[in-house]
């Protein structure tokens, strides 16, 4: 069971829409090669919501941008593949890739403020995407009709499309971004920190609506977030990333109930629980490693309270733990129990 052909089973046996395997992405910098994404594999089925969580700089956004091939110019794909319905996106020409963008995979960017060009009306910016991707092209009334419908779908007055981005509130802007992401009928939406910049109430509303839209339209969504609470609310499966590696993968429920990697365990323990048993939140000591020179063995070992000699020397592969849960830890079987020994 190598990391190369991972959790097809997780998506319930359905043929996956997206299959990332053994993705290695490094950034060329003046001081050396930054190992941003290291041997990451996962798959995502139709109408499925998956979450990628991890600290800032753990590579989750790099993974997301790779799906659209939008990583910065100094990114180098060392190995691996990104199969979209069987086609390797990394092997396409720029021209071919352009046709996949937005029409198949679209994205809700973090910080909706900056996702809009300040000099064009909101509707115009959505129209230009629709103009590129519908074949045969939509007629003018069809386009207008579709725009109105999209705005209603995300809970906005269709009149908003004639406004400029700076005339909208944060929540409206984010809703319009979602409308834009839906405009070309994509099969997958990548939501990169879709609600971080918003206040908690708007955040909850938007997540709720996004989930409804996803279920109604049968979309797949890949949520990227550092916020476990957000991920728990809206995803079916979850991948936990640490220092460029996927360290745990499984159904969201399972991972939350019984995390199998010490990192996920500690992340979850750091959230104070209102309804569960009373306990002190645990803080995760230390800082993520320098990816110019990642530590030998398990990348998490310098911060892991249970690290053994083996962890310091050998890199743990992804291992199947439960029926559909995977973790890259030598002591995965004992993780939750060991947690009870924490002070």
């Amino acid at each position: 069971m190598t990391a190369d052909r991972l959790p097809v089973e997780v998506s319930g046996g359905r043929a996956p829409l997206l299959e990332v395997s053994g993705l290695v992405l490094r950034y060329d910098t003046e001081v050396g090669e930054v190992s941003a994404v290291e041997n990451v594999s996962f798959s995502l089925g139709r109408a499925e919501a998956m979450g990628l969580v991890g600290e800032s700089g753990c590579g989750k956004t790099s993974v997301a941008l790779s799906l659209l091939r939008l990583a910065p110019d100094n990114a180098r794909y060392r190995s691996g593949s990104i199969l979209w319905e069987g086609v390797d996106l990394l092997g396409l020409s720029d021209q071919q890739m352009r046709l996949y963008r937005w029409a198949e995979i679209s994205m809700v960017f973090q910080g909706a403020m900056n996702a809009w060009n300040p000099v064009y009306r909101v509707g115009e910016q959505i129209r230009e995407a629709m103009y590129q991707h519908f074949d045969p092209p939509l007629s003018k009334p069809e386009t207008n009709q579709r725009l109105d419908d999209l705005f209603r779908l995300v809970g906005l007055d269709p009149a908003v499309q004639n406004r400029y981005p700076h005339e909208l509130s944060g929540g409206m802007r984010q809703r319009a971004v979602i409308a834009m992401a839906l405009s070309c009928e994509p099969k997958l939406i990548i939501a990169d920190e879709p609600t971080t910049a918003l206040d908690v109430i708007v955040q909850a509303q938007i997540l709720e609506e996004l989930k409804e839209i996803q279920e109604d339209l049968g979309l797949s969504i890949l949520y990227i977030s550092h916020d476990m609470a957000v991920i728990a609310q809206v995803t079916d499966t979850i991948g936990v990333m640490y220092a460029g590696k996927l360290v745990e993968f499984g159904p969201t429920r399972e991972v939350f109930r019984r995390p199998r990697h010490p990192y996920s365990f500690l992340l979850l323990s750091s959230i104070p629980s209102v309804t569960g048993p009373r306990r002190r939140p645990v803080s995760l000591e230390g800082t993520p490693p320098n990816l110019l020179a990642p530590p030998a063995g398990c990348r998490f070992h310098p911060r892991c309270p249970w690290a053994t000699e083996q962890c310091r020397n050998d890199e743990p592969p992804m291992m199947q733990i439960g029926p559909s849960q995977w973790a890259a830890c030598w002591n995965a079987e004992q993780v939750p129990e060991m947690g009870d020994q924490l002070p």
Partner: protein, 392 residues
């Protein structure tokens, strides 16, 4: 919008009054007896004749009365008569010189802003290729060149060594000996035809910018441009009015090549570097990433998203450049013996031809104010964030 425009107009008028007052008094307190020195051209004229002259020019009255009379006459369109070219009215002289300056400097301004913007756009877009280094170094080298020196070098090379272009002046007297037109008539025609052509060009590219189809955009951009140029050529070659004037207009245009070239070479690098840095900044914005994610073609990302947004600071710098159109030509006009406003400014101040000097300054002030106003409105059109709303 209407309220904003009215307020701006009132502000402009007030500012102009202040400007005119200050200018008038500054020139009034210039030392020297302009009448004795210049009008009669002779310090030994009899006192009686001198009295008569002073009275005729109104210089015997108290200063405040003179000022009151001047202002009163000014707003009736009477700027007085020139001391040096007595009794030629100042309005007449300026009316002759202004088109010459405008034609030359507007042409240069449009040329070097256009060249600078396009060059800067491509420099930022294709960052890091070998051409970039050469263009940047070359541009900065030219930018730091001392204008008179550079102008003389070009004159030496193109006019003296190669003999391709005229050395100076704005027309060739030989050719104009029996001309049926006054030079100014030709200048005015040249000014309007060129202005209309430029506006039509701008409209065509604006229309192209607004369309979404790539084919349609190309047709509009190139077809529209070709149509405008065809109309321009048709005017000079096809119509009776144009044909008659063509040789003379051509002669003037021929004399303009060298000064426009000089101004363009020296100034375009400033615009280019500004555009480049503005564009590089824009390219780092998230909305560029969004545009890419939307699968837009690269040319569209470059022109519609990056360059269009990067245009804003460039438009601001245009405000400052508008002033140079009118007065910054002093040195250039001197080097090329171009008889425009710059030449009036120098000669009238040096010879204490006060009415002409005040008149020239007044016109420069009016043009600078109008230029700023136009660019302000233009800027509002370019950037919706600062567009004036009804309650603004």
């Amino acid at each position: 919008m209407i309220r904003y425009l009215t307020r701006r107009l009132v502000q402009m008028v007030l500012l102009f009054l202040v400007f005119l007052t200050v200018t008038w008094f500054l020139l009034y307190i210039l030392p020297g007896d302009s009448v004795a020195l210049k009008y009669a051209g002779n310090p030994n004229i009899p006192p009686e004749a001198r009295e008569v002259a002073l009275e005729r020019l109104g210089l015997d009255k108290p200063v405040l009365i003179q000022f009151r009379d001047y202002m009163f006459n000014f707003f009736q369109g009477d700027l007085g008569v020139s001391f040096n070219q007595y009794p030629r009215p100042v309005v007449d002289i300026i009316g002759e010189r202004l088109p010459r300056t405008l034609v030359l400097f507007l042409t240069a301004l449009v040329t070097y802003y256009w060249a600078g913007f396009v060059a800067g756009k491509f420099l930022a877009w294709r960052r890091g290729n070998r051409g970039e280094m050469a263009v940047t170094i070359g541009g900065v080298g030219l930018y730091s060149m001392f204008l008179p020196f550079f102008a003389f070098m070009l004159i030496w090379f193109f006019s003296v060594q190669l003999g391709w272009l005229p050395i100076s002046k704005f027309l060739d007297p030989e050719q104009w000996r029996d001309a049926p037109f006054a030079a100014n008539e030709v200048f005015m025609r040249l000014f309007w035809v060129t202005l209309l052509t430029a506006i039509a060009m701008f409209m065509a590219s604006l229309a192209a910018h607004r369309t979404r189809g790539r084919m349609l955009e190309r047709i509009l951009r190139w077809g529209g441009g070709a149509l405008v140029i065809a109309a321009f050529l048709f005017y000079w070659f096809g119509t009776e009015a144009g044909q008659g004037m063509r040789i003379y207009a051509g002669d003037i245009a021929f004399h303009m090549i060298l000064p426009v070239l000089t101004l363009t070479l020296i100034n375009f690098a400033g615009v280019m570097l500004l555009t480049r840095s503005s564009m590089l900044e824009t390219l780092r914005e998230d909305f560029i990433l969004t545009a890419r994610a939307k699968g837009l073609p690269e040319g569209m990302i470059r022109d519609r998203h990056a360059a269009r947004t990067a245009l804003l600071p460039v438009a601001t710098s245009l405000v400052l450049a508008v002033a140079t159109v009118i007065d910054g030509g002093v040195i250039t006009e001197a080097v090329f013996s171009w008889p425009g406003m710059g030449e009036i400014l120098i000669s009238s101040v040096l010879s204490e031809d006060i009415p002409l000097a005040v008149g020239a300054f007044a016109f420069i002030g009016v043009l600078a104010l109008i230029g700023h106003f136009v660019v302000d409105v233009l800027y509002g059109l370019l950037d919706p964030r600062i567009r004036v709303t009804e309650h603004g």
